[in-house]
């Protein structure tokens, strides 16, 4: 089947058309079914090599990509670079060239610097998937969030989605804003002013500094993780104040639509950005997001795999 996905890499949601997004979500639906069978393995990527190159530790994203690759039949190798060559002074480009020489077919890359994955993609010959670059983008997270929402609400267009918390430092927020606005959802962001990046209102979202107003009549409430470093860097004073004002609890959630779903990209800080009762409550779809993560990554790997050279034997 000729690919309906015209891109060689997935570096971000930016650059994807609504058709591209819909295509990935549709094929992810199929992957969900595959993952729910006893026999979970397909042969789509048999013989292909997938390297997960993580410059920043991430258990859940890395294992999700690993599982997705394996279910498609690829040989998957994990490299945690944080602990190896970078420490020895090797530059990002050197690492890329070294890996390129090993002839992988797909590179999944996470890096702490915005733009690093795109830079790396210019230097290698294989397909590259951005698994998170700094505070820039995390496209597969946005896709898995969209898939989760769509499965619950039947659509994305017209929904009111409130993204709450550390918008300034969140790649999840950026990718979600891009994806959801592209698909016609009404996106609201809510955060203390110190955690709102300059000019965020120009991204097509409405900006709130009150949870109550941001959550009013929302269909989806998406909470973001608050890093402890934000306290020492004087963005917010304390966990207890943050939870009181910004933490999602039953009272704040009560102004959203009664059937609103609650999401979190994980890992959660219970009692910081979210009340444990809500995180584990009936409106929470947080664990389902994890399942959708594997499906979406399978869909992305398949879509990019379709562009890989098909000639059996020697490749250039």
């Amino acid at each position: 089947m000729a690919s309906l996905f015209p891109h060689r890499h997935l570096l971000g949601i930016e650059g994807l058309s609504p058709q591209d997004i819909a295509y990935l979500l549709d094929s992810a639906e199929v992957a969900v079914d595959v993952s729910r069978q006893v026999e979970k393995k397909k042969a789509t990527l048999r013989g292909r090599t997938q390297i997960n190159l993580f410059f920043e530790a991430s258990t859940r994203t890395q294992s999700s990509f690993e599982l997705a690759g394996k279910r498609l039949g690829a040989d998957v190798m994990n490299m945690s670079v944080a602990a190896s060559s970078v420490k020895k002074g090797e530059t990002l480009i050197d690492t890329a060239m070294t890996l390129n020489a090993m002839r992988p077919d797909i590179l999944v890359v996470r890096h702490h610097a915005a733009g690093a994955v795109a830079l790396l993609a210019q230097k290698v010959e294989c397909a590259v998937i951005n698994a998170g670059d700094g505070s820039h983008e995390h496209p597969t997270q946005a896709l898995l969030d969209a898939l989760t929402i769509r499965r619950h609400k039947g659509r994305l267009g017209g929904l009111v989605v409130a993204i709450c918390g550390d918008i300034a430092h969140s790649r999840v927020a950026r990718s979600n804003i891009l994806l959801l606005t592209a698909m016609g959802a009404q996106v609201r962001v809510a955060a203390p002013s110190t955690l709102l990046p300059a000019g965020v209102e120009r991204l097509g979202v409405s900006v709130f500094t009150s949870m109550r107003r941001a959550l009013a009549e929302a269909d989806v409430v998406m909470m973001l993780r608050l890093q402890r470093e934000r306290m020492s860097a004087a963005y917010v004073p304390s966990v207890r104040e943050y939870f009181r004002i910004w933490g999602l609890d039953a009272e704040k959630l009560s102004v959203a639509k009664p059937d609103a779903i609650v999401m979190h990209p994980g890992p959660m800080n219970r009692g910081v950005e979210i009340d444990p009762l809500i995180a584990d409550g009936v409106q929470s779809v947080i664990r389902e997001q994890v399942e959708m993560g594997v499906a979406v990554r399978m869909a992305v790997l398949e879509a990019l795999g379709a562009h890989l050279p098909k000639v059996v034997g020697l490749v250039a």
Binding site: S193, T194, M231, S232, A234, V236, P237, E241, R244, I245
Partner: protein, 430 residues
């Protein structure tokens, strides 16, 4: 039940209504029933105490935005009780306390402590400011939300000045979400380092290291730009020089919501008053030259400077009986602020109504307090003053626990006769 009080034959000055006229004032149930030329029209209720003011002036009680108290941790210098007595004697009905105590007021429980102690011991109203950063260390923000909920009226680093522009930006930004006011003593600690008085000829003659005016303006300029960037509410705690006044004037023209205060000392004294190394005249910012003082007075008259505060800072004998360079900064001022301020009225530099506005109406408005007005229904926080009565400041007459006044022996014109808080008389001249 306190009987109603009727003040007859008074000059009533109420900047909140632009009123300065002969008239009367009636207080009942702790609130003002009427004040002004027509106040006597409805007659005087039965059983009322009638005060013949003999032409003396009734003002809304003063609101002092900068009061250092030793409680908790330095009760030998000043308690909330002694500070409140000094305030009442000076016509000050609301004091705003600074968080530089031991411990620092940076936790909701401590705000609660100050409010409870004030409720139990103070005879005027007390509103604590809380620390802007944890422990006044300048690194991490204090809990503006929880502190405000506990009763903190504004946020400040007190005597200190915030070094980090980044933290100031975040504080102003974060404060915006709570409509909280940031009050800041603008002084670059590095530039002022080692200095003990205003830099210039006088310092040179005295052989004392100086503090340049730029120590103030460098930080004020930074803060004004950050206030504009963030849209946060910024109040300069104490302005002492002409260059700072110009910076403020420019910022206000641009429509920044910034405000500023000058301490009474910087409006009434200059560096020459230090004379023979008199440590009661050592303060931060330092007393400046006469030209600078005049510029600050002019800025008060034209409204560039919104507020006058006492910067009441009680210091014990230990701290002040030292060589000038080693002595503690600060002077008390609650009891003398109004009388000293009246010098500016008597000299014609500042109209009475403007002076009262800066000492009462403006700070009340800035802090969102129901004070600074004699409007019908307002709490009866007021002061009766004989504008022309001369008196001499004597250490032994002062109510403050510390006696470090810069006005010992000064001859002042204008004396508080009686002070009311919520209709209760808290000070009466004998």
């Amino acid at each position: 039940m306190i009987p109603p009080i009727f003040f007859a034959n008074a000059r009533v000055v109420d900047p909140s209504r632009g009123l300065d006229a002969r008239g009367a004032l009636l207080v009942e149930d702790g609130r003002i029933v009427a004040a002004g030329p027509e106040a006597a029209n409805q007659g005087v209720p039965e059983g009322a105490e009638i005060v013949d003011c003999l032409g003396a002036t009734v003002l809304p009680g003063l609101v002092d935005m900068r009061v250092f108290v030793g409680e908790p941790g330095g009760e030998h210098r000043e308690t909330l009780e002694t500070a409140s007595r000094a305030a009442a004697a000076g016509g000050v009905t609301t004091i705003v306390t600074m968080p530089d105590t031991n411990p620092v007021i940076d936790d909701p429980a401590l705000v609660d402590f100050v409010l409870r102690r004030a409720r139990d011991t103070a005879i005027v109203r007390v509103h604590p400011m809380a620390a802007m950063t944890r422990g006044l260390a300048g690194d991490e923000l204090a809990e503006f939300g929880l502190l405000k909920e506990a009763g903190a009226i504004a946020f400040t680093e007190g005597r200190r000045s915030l070094k980090s522009a980044r933290v100031m930006r975040n504080a102003l930004t974060y404060a915006r979400d709570f409509d909280a006011l940031i009050v800041h003593h603008a002084e670059d600690a590095d530039l002022a380092c080692g200095g003990v008085m205003n830099e210039g000829e006088t310092a040179t003659r005295l052989g004392l290291p100086g503090i340049p005016r730029e120590a103030e303006t460098v930080v004020l300029d930074r803060d004004l730009r950050l206030a504009r960037l963030t849209g946060g509410r910024y109040h300069a705690a104490q302005i002492s020089c002409a260059a700072a006044v110009s910076a403020l004037r420019r910022a206000k023209l641009k429509g920044n919501g910034v405000t500023a205060a000058a301490a009474i000392a910087h409006l009434s004294l200059n560096e020459n008053d230090i004379g023979a190394y008199r440590t009661f005249f050592k303060m931060s910012p330092p007393l400046r030259s006469e030209e600078e003082r005049c510029a600050v007075v002019e800025a008060l008259a034209d409204g560039t400077i919104d507020v006058v505060c006492s910067a009441h800072d009680p210091q014990d004998v230990e701290g002040k009986r030292q060589p000038f360079a080693e002595a503690a900064d600060g002077a008390i001022g609650l009891e003398t602020m109004l009388s000293v301020g009246l010098r500016l009225f008597h000299s014609g530099a500042v109209p009475l109504i403007r002076l009262v506005e800066a000492m009462s109406t403006a700070p009340a408005r800035l802090l969102g307090l129901e004070a600074g007005t004699l409007a019908t229904g307002a709490p009866a926080d007021l002061v009766l003053v004989d504008l022309n009565r001369p008196w001499i400041v004597r250490e032994e007459d002062l109510h403050s626990r510390s006696k470090n006044t810069a006005f010992e022996g000064a001859r002042l014109t204008g004396k508080v006769l009686r002070t009311l808080v919520g209709g209760r008389t808290v000070y009466r001249e004998h």
